[in-house]
Amino acid sequence: MQNLALGGLLLAAAVVPLVSDGYWLSIATTAMMYIALSTSWALFSGPTHLIALSTGAFFGIGGYMVGTGMSDYEQSFWTMALIAPLVATALALLVGLATLRLSGVYFVIFTLGLAEMVRNLVSWVQNNFLGSRGLYVLTDFTEAHIYWMLLAVAAVVFLAGSWLNRSRLGFALRIIGNDEEVARHVGINTAWSKVILFMTTGFFAALVGAIVAPRYSYIEPNVVFSPELSFMVVIMALLGGVHRLWGPLVGVIPFTLAWEAITVSFPNSTTLFLGLSFLLIVYLIPHGFTGLFETMLGRMRK
């Protein structure tokens, strides 16, 4: 029954490009990008309670590799979209191993520094050894194609998430998040559980970055390695709530719509009003949208 409902939802999402005009499709594409990113982010950060600000680093690797591969090495989009996530996964492995001892805010800022470091490093390498004729990503993909690819990624993330929730690994992670000592005592290999999950988020973020690259058409390192993207992904996931797999989803959708409404209503001071809306959200919806829904459901049942 539940599977049927989910299948229906997926189907509904898949027909969006067929029934909507370009405007709603572009909103849906942006939302789908954030759904894939936030949900895969929450796979790691939800159970471990470690806020990772590395999305921008992995996303950037995806976009950058597609850009440089296609415009400087005449590779196909598909080759690069395959290689980029693997490179990001390898990087995530290194970072994951390096950060095992870090906790709380130290981990947060370590991952924040990572995106900047990777951006500087690739720019330097490109500048000194590879050269560049500009990172053009010109393909025949339309917005609908990109949307469908993102939808497929998001669906895979959900499948992975629901498998994880039921698996031993997910169980292990939840225990780690609650008390790492206990986890170790009951014989869970906390280190590998964390690293594997971190690699998963790295993989998906780079894949999304690679898929979005044709949408941007021209890749600038400081745009794809954006610290703001890292923050936005975290904020949308937190807004939704990270304790349910569908939490980020219910964060992203209202957030995207609210963002759109603000942009349309206050074109002259969009940023100002976005900021105010963040503040309102924090004060009025303290436990995120999942918290809100669960409270509402609870009331209805009473």
């Binding site: 805010v105 370590f110 520094g113 720019s123 923050f231 900021g275």
Partner: protein, 287 residues
């Protein structure tokens, strides 16, 4: 020698960026993502008064510091304290303060854009100054002196005065401080307000030699966070030492190896410090 001198001056700049955040996060426990915007706001004030009325940025600080103090106190008291009270755990507070201060940073960017959307460029003390036989920029030297003065004053205040001791007590443990009769809320508000004032003054000094614009704050926030974490949370010495290390390393790499690798080297040092001392240089072991 050149490296040492330029490196120290750059370190002073970094200290200006990070000392305020150190107080705000170390004591008031607010991970303030609007820190960079507060810095740029100080820079905007300096730029604006200098272009409109030819008022020296040094003089501007006399106005900027109290205004920033009051502004940050109000922000803490009315916007952040409710979050502190509401949060059951430090993790919850971190999440809430990330969301809230990220919102504030947007609000500040929006306000600043409406005041001046272009680059804040002006020339103040952009003259060569000979120090120990080497040429340095006078405005950078002034900022360094400012950083030393602020750092020294904060260190004295925290370690030699009663109210400073109370602040340190809160930074160690809010619960224990509350038990010995310290008004934790008031001390936190004070620390947050002073932190904001320090950042804004730093911004007005920095604006004399770095070209700012309304949207550039996030870059300073990131740098400040990195210095804060590298130095260790809750110890002002940590922030200053980390700032100096970064300044020296960046200048050395830029001079000896390649300017293109400065930021890479800075982050590499930061990552190394955390690998060997996960709590930062001066941080306390977390339990």
């Amino acid at each position: 020698m050149d490296i040492l001198l330029s490196g120290l001056l750059l370190g002073g700049t970094y200290a200006l960026m990070a000392m305020g955040l150190n107080l705000q996060y170390g004591v008031a426990r607010i991970m303030n993502l609007a820190n960079g915007e507060m810095l740029v706001l100080g820079g905007l004030a300096a730029f604006w008064l200098f272009s409109a009325a030819a008022i020296s940025p040094l003089l501007t600080n006399v106005i900027v510091a109290p205004l920033a103090f009051v502004g940050n106190w109000l922000v803490y008291r009315f916007l952040l304290l409710p979050l502190v009270r509401r949060a059951k755990t430090q993790g919850q507070l971190e999440v809430d303060s990330i969301l809230a201060t990220f919102g504030m940073s947007f609000v500040l960017v929006g306000v600043m854009v409406s005041i001046h959307g272009e680059y804040f460029t002006y020339s103040f003390l952009a003259d060569p100054f000979t120090l120990l036989g080497k040429t340095v920029a006078l405005n950078r030297l002034v900022a360094f002196v400012g950083a030393c003065a602020i750092g020294g004053a904060l260190y004295y205040w925290l370690n030699r005065t009663y109210s400073g001791t109370a602040v340190r007590a809160v930074s160690v443990s809010t619960e224990a401080a509350g038990l010995v009769g310290i008004n934790v809320d008031r001390v936190s508000a004070l620390a947050f307000a002073i932190g904001g004032a320090v950042t804004a003054v730093g911004g007005s000094l920095i604006s004399t030699f770095i070209t700012l614009d309304a949207s550039i704050g996030v870059i300073f926030t990131m740098k400040a966070l990195i210095i804060l974490i590298m130095g260790g949370v809750g110890d002002i010495r940590g922030a200053i030492i980390a700032a100096l290390i970064l300044g020296l390393v960046e200048t050395a790499v830029a001079t000896v190896i390649d300017p293109g690798l400065t930021l890479v080297a800075a982050y590499a040092i930061f990552l190394c410090v955390l690998l060997f001392r996960p709590q930062g240089l001066f941080g306390r072991k977390t339990t």
